[in-house]
Symmetry: C2
Subunit: 170 residues, 2 copies
């Protein structure tokens, strides 16, 4: 286990879910989907690949990319709206907010209830159809502040090395 997995993994209810979307349920897709919904660190494609490879050594990186794209197209996964250079994915499609460290690249869910997307319905009325509304916060996490890695500040994606941490790719 590379990172702490919290949320309950997807057993085989994925079977019905995929069928409902007219998607074939392959060994690879099941593993990718399970890994993504179980993860809580909003992994990038390569990270999902590395983790799934522990169970399916022959899976290729582009299958991961293709599967993540398919899951997004069917609304079973989402991309986190952030400004790094690598796409980060989220298996939790329920509306929620995000918090990102510009130093080490970690992205966490932001548990708040102060913000209600419905409140700005009329403000966006004439713009078009809203698919998703969330609060995005960028800053330096306490771990980076403590390690002094956040001194320079800036940078995004997976920047500056964090002492004691592997960082780089999440």
């Amino acid at each position: 286990m590379t990172t702490p997995e919290s949320k309950k993994p997807t057993p085989d209810h994925a079977r019905n879910l995929f069928a409902a979307h007219g998607l074939k349920l392959t060994h690879q897709r099941l593993e990718i989907y399970s890994e993504l919904t179980a993860a809580c660190d909003h992994p990038c494609a390569e990270t999902v690949w590395r983790r799934v490879r522990e169970r399916v050594p022959t899976i290729s990186l582009d299958t991961v990319y293709r599967t993540l794209a398919v899951l997004r197209e069917h609304g079973l996964a989402a991309r986190v709206p952030m400004d790094g250079d690598t796409a980060r994915f989220d298996g939790d499609i329920s509306p929620h907010h995000h918090l990102a460290c510009e130093c080490c690249g970690r992205i966490d869910d932001l548990p708040i209830s102060e913000f209600d997307p419905a409140a700005l319905q009329e403000s966006v009325a004439g713009w078009g159809r809203v698919r998703d509304a969330q609060v995005v916060i960028r800053g330096i996490c306490c771990r980076c502040l403590e390690s002094g890695a956040g001194d320079r500040g800036l940078a995004d994606g997976e920047p500056a090395p964090v002492p004691g941490e592997s960082a780089k790719i999440q």
Copy 2:
């Protein structure tokens, strides 16, 4: 003029601003900075380049990339937190929110006052230092809805062609 420019351009107050940050004020930087602060469409590096080239035909794309990076490092510009495949820049560094069309890639400012970042200070207290907090909305703009381009839905960055629009790169 490629797109409607609204906000007041930066005259020469840029001279003092750059000096204050210890940055040399070159012809190229001035044009890039002016173009960025005048733009209201959150352009990508290549778009800034195309626009500035009308005045400075010899400027190179990597100078634009380097300058945008420098401006960000000094807090004179920001990258919009979004999930497209190309970085989008913002010359307006005052706190505000964004609205993005997943179909044509356009990004607009979202004029709302309902959301006050200060309200979640305590929610983020133990996480670290907040540098920026904003609401990000993703959806399909009315122009795409009308043209039917938003039918398929999904996609991000600069996807599906919009009839009557140049789209592709913003």
